[in-house]
């Protein structure tokens, strides 16, 4: 069957009342989480992941995928009306969205964000349908040495694209890898680094670790910022503006396409997410504009660039997740956990063995992209207003409660809750010291891939004069080696380019 036939099969599976309700529920929850400043899409997916344990694989993924797509869009409401990005993927939306709202064009900004999100989201998913099966076919040829280099490549990218300090990004990634080595060694069988704590013999649970590292630091930040005032701007609905704005946005095909391509490519790169894509797309929009001086004063192109790119990241991130088992974005790291929890192994075989689940999931996310438009336009404005009235002192204990429920329900173990809390506090301290949670979690996921690749590769390489030669004698390995070196040198190249151009590109 071709991709389109599988997609038709996916849509047929989707049109069941229960699945459709879950998709709608995912969209509603995602919009609320996205619009709540302090709750990111990553945190939302992490919080609701353990609750989906009781659903079927496709239902669970449809719910989480819809939540993810809608949360990225929902973040634009608070970015436009409150000048507070709902998620890190909407930072760029504040630059022009909020000035538009201040000029009394809040409703227009919301409409632009909505249509751009729809365009970017659909673009990303269509690209996923084109590229993922191709990459999956290539990935079937991978052996342990290729997986070793793939993991290393993932680690170099997540670190070099990490916000702020590159060196700390690398160290964070290695801390994550080290956490993944706790427990019984997958090949050698020794119990490692448990410090005689029996709970650690099975290793650090991925889901408690994800919930802890992503949610607890956010809650603590919420507690610390509880006194910050928010400036709400009203967005009055204007009749006839919806269609007029739709026509205007669709006329800006080059802006939409450029932002969507940037978002998709950044989504494909392991570790980089919407937080990077929206800023890159915004700076490219400024660079290529005939009137760069107008950006920041409330121009539609600014909102189009950020909102199309951050939603295109969703489809981009699914490509390496579903084909190689390497998460494209931090949210994909949690979806990786969702796949494992459902007994599915992310990777090329997912397409051949469980194509029904993959394509139902894709169909669900595509449908959710359409559904989030009327739901967002109907309730988004009101929701943003209500959200400003929720005190953070109320939100914090509720989120702590949800993190506890979430980490407990994975294996009904109170030890997982302790793991979640300890890693959460560690994550907060590390964040304060400049180590982001993204590289740490991705190191935690890539660690077992790299270890299995290394150890199994060394065992296979015993027939060669030197076992390690197996890692440099296969052509696909060289592709990853070259890519890894390129991404290792990327921050240096970027720095030199900035110096040469007199800092203009900064």
């Amino acid at each position: 069957m071709s991709s389109l036939q599988y997609l038709a099969y996916g849509f047929a599976h989707l049109f069941v009342v229960k699945t459709l309700l879950l998709m709608l529920g995912g969209v509603c929850v995602g919009l609320v989480i996205g619009a709540l400043p302090g709750l990111s899409a990553t945190m939302g997916v992490a919080l609701f992941l353990p609750i989906t344990y009781w659903l079927s694989a496709s239902d669970s993924l449809v719910f989480l995928g819809s939540l993810y797509m809608a949360a990225i869009y929902g973040g634009s409401f608070s970015a436009i009306l409150l000048r507070t990005p709902g998620t890190p993927s909407n930072i760029g939306t504040t630059f022009d969205g909020y000035p538009m709202a201040k000029q009394g064009r809040g409703w227009e900004a919301i409409l632009i964000a909505t249509y751009s999100s729809l365009y970017g989201g659909l673009f990303g998913m269509i690209m996923f349908l084109i590229f993922a099966p191709m990459l999956a076919r290539i990935a079937l040829k991978f052996g342990p040495p290729e997986y070793f280099w793939l993991g290393i490549f993932g680690l170099t990218v997540i670190s070099s694209l990490s916000r702020g300090n590159t060196l700390k990004g690398f160290i964070g990634g290695l801390i994550g890898v080290l956490l993944s080595t706790i427990g019984v060694a997958p090949v050698g069988g020794n119990v490692r680094f448990t410090f005689n704590i029996p709970h650690l013999i099975g290793g650090v649970g991925l889901i408690p670790a994800l919930v802890g590292l992503f949610c607890i630091p956010e809650v603590i930040e919420m507690i610390l910022n509880k006194s910050k005032q928010q400036l709400y701007q009203e967005a009055k609905v204007q009749k006839g503006l919806a269609w007029k704005t739709f026509v205007n946005v669709m006329r800006k095909q080059i802006d939409l396409l450029r932002a969507s391509i940037i978002g998709f490519i950044i989504g494909v790169l392991p570790g980089a997410g919407g937080n990077i894509a929206n800023l890159v797309a915004y700076s490219e929009a400024v660079r290529t504009s005939k009137h760069p001086e107008k950006f920041g004063t409330g121009v539609a192109e600014g909102v189009i660039a950020t909102e199309a790119s951050n939603n295109a990241v969703v489809g981009g991130g699914f490509v390496p997740l579903m084909t190689l088992g390497v998460p494209g974005t931090p949210v994909d790291a949690i979806l990786y956990g969702a796949l494992l929890m459902q007994g599915l192994r992310p990777g090329a075989e997912l397409f051949t063995r469980r194509a029904d689940v993959v394509y139902t999931f894709v169909a669900g996310v595509i449908l959710a992209t359409f559904v989030m438009v009327p739901v967002g336009l109907a309730f988004g404005r009101g929701m943003a207003k209500v959200i400003t009235k929720i005190p953070l002192s109320l939100l914090a204990p509720t989120v702590i409660f949800l993190t506890m429920v979430g980490s407990y329900c994975v294996s009904n173990s109170i030890s997982d809750v302790y793991t979640m809390l300890i890693l959460g506090l560690l994550g907060f301290v590390l964040r304060k010291l400049g180590f982001e949670a993204g590289p740490i979690t991705l190191g935690l996921i890539l660690g077992p891939i790299i270890e299995s690749g290394l150890v199994q590769g060394l065992l296979i390489g015993r027939k060669l004069p030197q076992p390690w030669l197996i890692f440099i004698t296969r052509p696909i390995c060289w592709v990853f080696i070259v890519l890894s070196v390129f991404f290792l040198l990327w921050p240096v190249i970027l720095k030199k380019r900035i110096v040469v151009s007199g800092g203009d590109q900064k």
Binding site: I171, L174, A185, I223, I400, F401, L421, K432, V455
Partner: protein, 151 residues
């Protein structure tokens, strides 16, 4: 800078301890952690050297890690959360433990500005959320939630 130096030294010592532990493992169990630890130590030394150089040049101003008042709140909430889990597991159970500690944390965070009407409104909403989860997980999905002494 000083924070980076402290982190580097801590990571170096910790890496050495772990590297020493790997000597007890067989080759297949030890090769990967050793590979990671050596890389980590190299990067940590670079971080340490950079922090020392920056400290000598004093190019960046040292920002405070966290304000004392904020640190008090963070430590209090962290301590209460650990106590919450412990008491929930052994004494109060999921329902009572979650309700009690959630309300206590809210009251602490809201501070002196807390009005009685807000307190009642929050308590009602929060109890409703906890009750929904308790019923859905414990009664409908038969998840063995912590029972404590009373349930």
């Amino acid at each position: 800078m000083i924070a980076d130096m402290v982190v580097s030294i801590f990571l170096l010592i910790f890496s050495l301890v772990l590297l020493n532990q790997t000597r007890q493992y067989n080759y297949l169990s030890a090769v990967f952690p050793q590979f990671v630890l050596v890389f980590l130590m190299i990067l940590t030394v670079i971080l340490l050297v950079r922090a020392i150089v920056l400290f000598k040049k004093r190019r960046t101003s040292e920002s405070k890690f966290i304000a004392t008042k904020d640190l008090f709140y963070v430590l209090l909430v962290a301590a209460l959360s650990f106590l919450w889990i412990y008491v929930m597991d052994w004494i109060l159970g999921f329902l009572l433990g979650s309700i009690l500690f959630g309300i206590v944390i809210f009251a602490i965070l809201a501070g002196k500005s807390l009005k009685a009407s807000h307190f009642l409104l929050f308590s009602f909403s929060y109890v409703a959320i906890v009750f929904i989860f308790w019923y859905a997980l414990g009664k409908l999905l038969h998840v063995p939630l912590p029972r404590g002494l009373f349930f």
